[in-house]
């Protein structure tokens, strides 16, 4: 591999629409790590809404566009364990019966990583130059943890942020209740799960909660706000890229 791998950033649909700063944080971190970053224009969504709703045909159609949009890069990196897991594991499964494309899908899957684990495991990043004077607690998003084995990597890098201390919550690996369309189809169940998560977060006394998936973060921020629990909610990349000074936490009033 060349010393400066060509990385395609998969921005993810939620980050694109809701919190583009996470995309810029990813861009900054990847460049700092020595990657040449490109942003394929034809990308939209990884297809999970269709895939998880049982609409396999649409999921497959999107998988095919992803195959094209992300062809020819050394790596594909997404600031989301869930979307990276979709491309890494589920996209090959969607295409496995197509002898023409199966190998390409598997190859693409194997080159796809979640941002933080890519920085540590592939690029060998061991520290970041960032500052945040807060006590944070880290929520392990389900797909990142169980599909991609992301657990130690974000904690290791967060440990090098000046002024930051980590306080673990009771069950960081228990689902926050987001689950894509689950959270709108079963709002009451989802809200109860989110409440349990927020109780665990609040018990740590941490001022900020971090995670690597915007879906979970929107759910946690939205529920914390509904319950008037004053915890700041951020994507881990914002902290690692030292962007917290100018960027209000998720769901906080705009600074003007």
């Amino acid at each position: 591999m060349a010393s400066s791998p060509r990385v395609a950033l998969f921005v993810t649909c939620l980050v694109d629409m809701h919190r583009p700063s996470i995309g810029f944080a990813a861009l900054k971190l990847l460049k700092q790590a020595g990657c040449t970053v490109e942003i394929p224009r034809a990308q939209t969504c990884c297809g999970q809404p269709a895939y998880n709703a049982g609409d396999r045909a649409t999921a497959r159609a999107l998988a095919l566009s992803i195959l094209d949009a992300f062809a020819g890069y050394d790596y594909i990196v997404a600031p989301s364990g869930s979307c990276a897991g979709m491309i890494r594991h589920h996209l090959p499964a969607l295409i496995e019966n197509d002898p023409n494309l199966a190998a390409r899908a598997r190859e693409l899957g194997a080159k796809t990583y979640e941002l933080v684990s890519f920085l540590t495991d592939v690029m060998g990043v061991t520290s970041v130059s960032a500052r945040l004077e807060e006590t944070v607690t880290y929520h392990d998003s389900c797909s990142g943890l169980r599909e991609l084995g992301i657990h130690d990597q974000p904690r290791a890098l967060l440990g090098t942020v000046t002024g930051l201390s980590i306080k673990e919550m009771a069950d960081p690996d228990v689902c926050c209740g987001f689950g894509g369309t689950f959270c709108v189809k079963y709002p009451e169940v989802s809200a109860r799960m989110a409440k349990d998560k927020i109780d665990d977060i609040a018990s740590t006394g941490a001022t900020t909660v971090l995670a690597g998936d915007l879906g979970c973060l929107l759910n946690i921020a939205g529920r914390a706000s509904r319950e008037n629990v004053p915890v700041m909610v951020r994507h881990v990349a914002e902290v690692l890229a030292d962007m917290t000074t100018d960027l209000p936490p998720i769901g906080a009033p705009r600074q003007s």
Binding site: V11, C13, D16, M17, H18, R19, P20, S21, G23, F24, I39, R41, A42, Q43, T44, G47, P49, A50, Y51, N52, A53, G54, D55, R56, T58, A61, L62, S65, C142, S143, R146, V174, C175, F178, G179, G180, T181, F182, C183, V184, K185, Y186, P187, E188, V189, S190, A191, M193, A194, D196, N219, A221, G222, R223, S225, R226, G251, A252, P253, R254
Partner: protein, 475 residues
């Protein structure tokens, strides 16, 4: 048991509001989860055992007819009888026939989920036979006329106060000052009552955790010893088991026993593991004079060769529900049929139909915890997704969801149009919600805002901002 799975949302609503239930469910962490974790910590070869178990099951499922025939042959050699039943009706009738032949009035029962599946108690009662549950949990549920809410701890949803209340209502001999402060007081009371019933029962019905092909034995695992009394005291013993319970050898059975006890209760081995082979033989001091196996299919064989075949590997340890964040919020009854939790979300649609059970595979975040703890490594989320695909094909999901999905799919496949649409939406939302940073109500998104606020987006989309930065030469 009549299913109420189609009312999952209402069932869940009731469950979440039920303070007693929530108190009981909170025990999952300290009881099941912590004990399992401790047991696994002491068994480094657990992963290897899981793989071994899985490959035995795979082998059995590809040769199920062979092992069932071998098993049945051995049962008959040992003097027992096998009753092959394709449907629930056939199984109920077979049990009734055996009871009638024995002129049974009272039947004692060990814990059996298959019996719940068949609705056997009601059926026997309708035919003038009194079934008596002898498992403590099942016994209290029988008094309360409730179905189990959990497959290994059927009365998991009850608190000590509930037990006391039911005893005081039904055990009229109880002294008013009798205290039920601890679990052992409850056990003592139930044991006292049940002991008499054991001695008058004409037939004993047990389930089976495993059926061993090489010996024709059935195996039950309990912690109370009630199963042993159920199968040895009456003159007739009926084993009620489904076809996927067969394993080739005693050795294989040992592999599963090690996985089962640890996954279920965190024990190295359950207190009682009882093997029974045929009726009493000449030198035996006790045991039944008749031994029947009612071997039930009831939908299992139709899962063979499908996306759901691996569900037949399940050893009913309950680890999946003990670790499920949805089960731990709604409890077992919300699922509305015999098998709750992730196991039920896959199995129930196969047994009672997707029209009734469509919510169960849908009501999952796919967090993957169940698969990670399942001793048989059954890919439960993947199979739930397969059910969602079936539901989607049959248009069983709500029309609104389908049209939203269609709109989204249309846009997501047209990047230019998608860019425009998301840009407008993000801008609008930022304008209206930006000052507070959130929305507490949103048109078209009440599913979200009923349960939580919606944080406002930053304003422009990533792609719009990126294009601007690029034009300005800042990137």
């Amino acid at each position: 048991m009549r299913p109420t799975s189609s009312a999952f949302i209402a069932n869940a609503h009731k469950a979440i509001a039920d303070a007693g239930l929530q108190k009981a469910l909170a025990r999952s962490k300290t009881n099941w989860q912590a004990r399992r974790a401790a047991a696994l910590a002491g068994l480094p070869e657990f992963e290897a055992l899981r793989d071994a178990g899985r490959s035995i099951k795979r082998h059995v499922m590809s040769n199920l007819d062979f092992y069932l025939e071998e098993y049945a042959g051995r049962v008959e050699q040992a003097g027992g009888q096998v009753h092959w039943c394709a449907t629930a009706d056939e199984a109920r009738e077979a049990v009734l026939r055996i009871c009638r032949q024995a002129e049974a009035r009272t039947v004692t029962k060990g814990k059996s989920m298959v019996s719940e599946e068949l609705g056997l108690n009601e059926y026997l009662e309708e035919h003038g036979i009194v079934p008596v549950e002898t498992d403590l949990g099942e016994y209290i549920l029988q008094l309360r006329n409730e179905p189990p809410s959990h497959i290994t701890g059927p009365a998991f949803h009850l608190n000590r106060e509930d037990w006391e209340e039911s005893f005081r209502e039904h055990h009229t001999h109880l002294a008013a000052d009798r205290v039920f402060a601890e679990r052992k007081d409850i056990v003592a009371e139930a044991r006292g009552v049940l002991r008499d019933r054991f001695t008058i029962a004409d037939v004993g019905i047990t389930g089976a955790n495993f059926l061993i092909a090489e010996t024709g034995s059935s195996v039950i695992v309990t912690n109370e010893g009630n199963g042993d009394l159920t199968q040895t005291l009456p003159k007739v013993h009926i084993v009620l088991a489904t076809i996927e319970k067969v394993v080739p050898t005693l050795e294989d059975c040992a592999t599963f026993l090690r996985l089962l006890a640890r996954s279920a209760t965190g024990q190295d081995i359950s207190v009682y593991t009882t093997f029974s082979t045929g009726p009493r033989r000449a030198p035996d001091l006790d045991g039944p004079s008749e031994y029947h196996v009612v071997l039930v299919d009831n939908g299992r064989s139709s899962m063979l060769g499908t996306d759901f075949q691996e569900m037949l590997h399940c050893i009913r340890c309950a680890a999946c529900m003990n670790h499920c964040p949805v089960y731990s919020v709604v409890g077992g009854h919300a699922y509305g049929w015999v098998y709750p939790g992730p196991l039920g979300a896959v199995l129930d649609p196969a047994l009672i139909g997707l029209d009734e059970a469509k919510h169960l595979p849908a009501a999952s975040t796919f967090c993957g915890k169940c698969e990670s703890v399942c001793p048989m490594k059954i890919p439960l989320p993947k199979m739930m997704r397969h059910w969602r695909e079936r539901a989607f094909e049959r248009q069983l999901n709500p029309p609104v969801e389908r049209s939203m999905l269609r709109l989204w799919a249309f846009l997501a496949q047209r990047p230019a149009l998608y860019r425009l649409g998301t840009r407008i939406a993000a801008r609008m939302m930022a304008i209206f919600g930006g000052k507070n940073g959130k929305f507490s109500r949103l048109p078209l998104a009440s599913g979200w805002t009923d349960a939580r606020d919606m944080p406002a987006p930053e304003g422009d989309t990533f792609f719009a901002r990126y294009a601007r930065e690029e034009r300005a030469g800042r990137i």
